[in-house]
């Protein structure tokens, strides 16, 4: 048994996962969950390698508890405040996640040897926790493994940023498992801004207990291929899960958001809100599902996906899905694809604002509906600033 050809230089950690992966292989369009994104094709063109660390230093943008991961190599973490433990090295995903899902990229992540980042939160943590992924080696592969636990009643926020040097081709296959205990609150932000030739595949699984709150806010600024998959199991009553995202794409970018929220207990709420702007031949994919178990009465589920296309060749596809087995629920979903409103554009230009700035302002306004939900001021402003910058490059 060996690792697939496109991954070089890695050791095998889990033979069983690898066997299973090799049985299934990379997903193609025939796989329902990957209907719009043919991973086998995406990964057929190039070989990616395990690379060495580098002395890259970056600013602490968010004044955070910071973990640096350079070319897949995790740096040391010191000066931790009380109430949080971060260990790097051994770790384990739940059996349920690896063995039952039979998800090829989860299996691949688990097959490959690599350090875990284990984050245990036992007190309220005011500072942001920042995992800063940065790559500057050519054709780098990295397969992050992150496990986050937050204790009952505690609150914390975690941000992951993905950046790469110019012309740096990247394969990232990230796997994150999150345990949100009763009455806890975990806010998660993920910002993909490789801006270049990166294949970014991420899977997040969150288990949300009674009266707790979990949210993920994802932003993708014009990367080549991005798949952000999130599955949330709401396991206790009166809990709330929100998964939101913003994406901006140009050239031939592909951005796939695949979200599944499983309501397994009663009286819970969930929200999925995604907005995207696409130019050139970029493609947006949104597969959102709300699953409501027969036990999950009084579920309130909401799902919305809106996109603006700036070119005739850009496209969005996907499917919203509701699967409901309880009878007393409130679920809604919707989607829309449109252009910049010409009347609004004329109103702005008739006031002296040039057309490029006017478009930029209108698109920011469109995406701000998502950012307005972000509690953390520093993160929200950072995202808004990057949106303006990215928009200037795609307009």
């Amino acid at each position: 048994m060996s690792l697939p050809n496109f991954l070089q230089g890695f050791e095998i950690a889990d033979k069983k996962s690898l066997d299973c992966y090799n049985d299934i292989g990379l997903p193609t369009k025939k796989n329902e969950n990957w209907h719009y994104l043919d991973m086998a094709r995406v990964l057929s063109k190039q070989v990616y390698q395990k690379q060495l660390n580098d002395n890259h230093k970056s600013d602490n943008l968010f004044d955070a508890i910071k973990i640096s991961v350079v070319n897949g190599n995790i740096g040391s973490v010191d000066n931790l405040p009380e109430g949080i433990s971060i260990t790097v090295g051994d770790g384990k995903f739940s059996d349920e996640l690896i063995n039952e899902k039979k998800h090829p990229l989860l299996l691949l992540n688990n097959s490959v040897a690599g350090d875990f980042i284990n984050i245990d939160i036992s007190q309220d943590i005011k500072q942001l926790i920042h995992i800063d992924y940065y790559n500057n080696a050519p054709n780098v592969a990295f397969l992050p493994k992150v496990v986050i636990r937050i204790a009952s009643g505690k609150t914390a926020s975690i941000i992951e940023t993905f950046n790469s040097g110019k012309d740096c081709s990247v394969f990232c296959n990230s796997l994150t498992e999150i345990f949100v205990e009763e009455e806890a609150k975990l806010l998660q932000y993920k910002i993909q801004q490789d801006m270049g030739q990166s294949k970014h595949i991420a899977y997040t699984k969150a288990y949300v207990q009674k009266e707790s709150f979990y949210e993920q806010n994802f932003a993708c600024f014009n990367n080549e291929v991005t798949r952000n998959e999130v599955e949330v199991d709401i396991l206790g009553t009166d809990a709330n899960a929100e998964v939101r995202g913003v994406y901006i794409g140009k050239n031939k970018s592909v951005i796939d958001n695949t979200i599944r929220i499983n309501h397994l207990a009663s009286d819970c709420e969930s929200q999925q809100l995604f907005k995207g702007v696409l130019n050139d031949r970029a493609q947006g994919i949104f597969q959102g599902k709300i699953y409501v178990d027969k036990e999950a009465q009084k579920t309130d589920g909401y799902q919305m996906h809106r996109s603006i296309l700036l070119s005739d060749d850009a496209q969005v596809c996907g499917k919203p899905e509701l699967e409901i087995y309880a009878d007393d629920v409130k679920c809604s979903h919707g989607s829309s694809t449109g252009e910049i409103n010409p009347e609004q554009l004329f109103y702005l230009t008739a006031r002296g604002i040039n057309e490029n700035l006017a478009r930029n302002l209108l698109l920011q306004a469109f995406l701000n509906e998502v950012f307005d939900n972000i509690e953390n001021d520093i993160v929200r402003k950072y995202l808004q600033k990057n949106t303006i910058k990215t928009m200037e490059t795609i307009l």
């Binding site: 409103n341 009347e343 609004q344 109103y347 702005l348 002296g352």
Partner: protein
């Protein structure tokens, strides 16, 4: 000197089966003059103002428009605005997600930049905005809202007037700015126009009612029917129309 000179303007809706709307329109506005256009619904009054402001909804098939001696139709909408043309829209559009004050600051700074002047800083701008808003009885709360979102009909018209007074245009095109205004607001809007009016500036005021013209005295009143101006007179023409309607003009 002519501020605006429109000659034999023909325009149609810019789509494959778009009908002709302006059918040979002539109009000259000299500096310092106030002109009013009256005319039945659907005769092309708003179309005219939108064309002057640079809308790309329409295709010009014949004729010319000169503004300050330059070919206006060559210029893009934002250039026209920055060179002093202001259209107070008949139906101001709502723009969720952009705060009124942010929008207006961008607009004012665009104009300042265009005229090679220094941009206004944020604090100074807010002061200016508050002061102008107060005279138009627009609350701070309204300024914080997104552009025109949730405004009543009359509030939208007052907001157009506020924008005009901040951008201080050379040629103001007011498309039914009086419609939907209460008596007090009508007076305030008229005061706004009279306040910025000077011998360098011109106004084109479109209205269905003589009432507004009681407050803003026009030098000329034109009747527009079927995409062109068919009669020009002075203030008395407005009074006559108010009494008799457009029947005498074959409408």
């Amino acid at each position: 000197m002519d501020l605006l000179n429109i000659e034999n303007l023909h325009a149609r809706v810019d789509n494959p089966d778009g009908q002709e709307i302006l059918k040979g329109l002539n109009l000259t506005i000299k500096k310092g003059e106030i002109h009013a256009i009256m005319g039945p619904n659907g005769t092309g009054k708003s179309t005219l103002t939108k064309i002057l402001a640079g809308s790309d909804e329409y295709e010009i098939t014949q004729g010319s428009v000169n503004y300050n001696g330059e070919d206006l139709l060559e210029k893009e909408a934002h250039e026209r605005a920055n060179e002093g043309i202001f259209l107070a829209f008949q139906y101001p559009v709502e723009i969720p997600g952009i705060a009124t004050s942010t929008f207006l600051r961008h607009a004012l700074n665009a104009k300042l930049r265009h005229n090679e002047k220094e941009e206004i800083d944020n604090l100074e701008f807010i002061k200016l905005l508050r002061q102008k808003a107060k005279t138009l009885k627009i609350s701070d709360e309204m300024l914080k809202r997104p552009v025109n979102v949730g405004f009543s009909g009359g509030e939208k018209k007052r907001m157009e007037t506020l924008q005009m007074s901040i951008l201080d245009p050379h040629l103001g095109l007011l498309d039914e700015t009086d419609s939907g205004l209460d008596i007090d607001a009508l007076r305030t809007v008229a005061e706004g126009v009279n306040y910025i009016h000077s011998k360098e500036k011109g106004f084109l005021i479109i209205t269905h009612y003589q009432r507004l013209l009681d407050y803003i005295k026009p030098d000329f009143v034109h009747i527009m029917v079927g995409g062109k101006i068919i009669k020009t007179g002075d203030y008395k023409l407005a009074i006559e129309l108010e009494e008799k309607g457009y029947q005498a003009y074959g409408v």
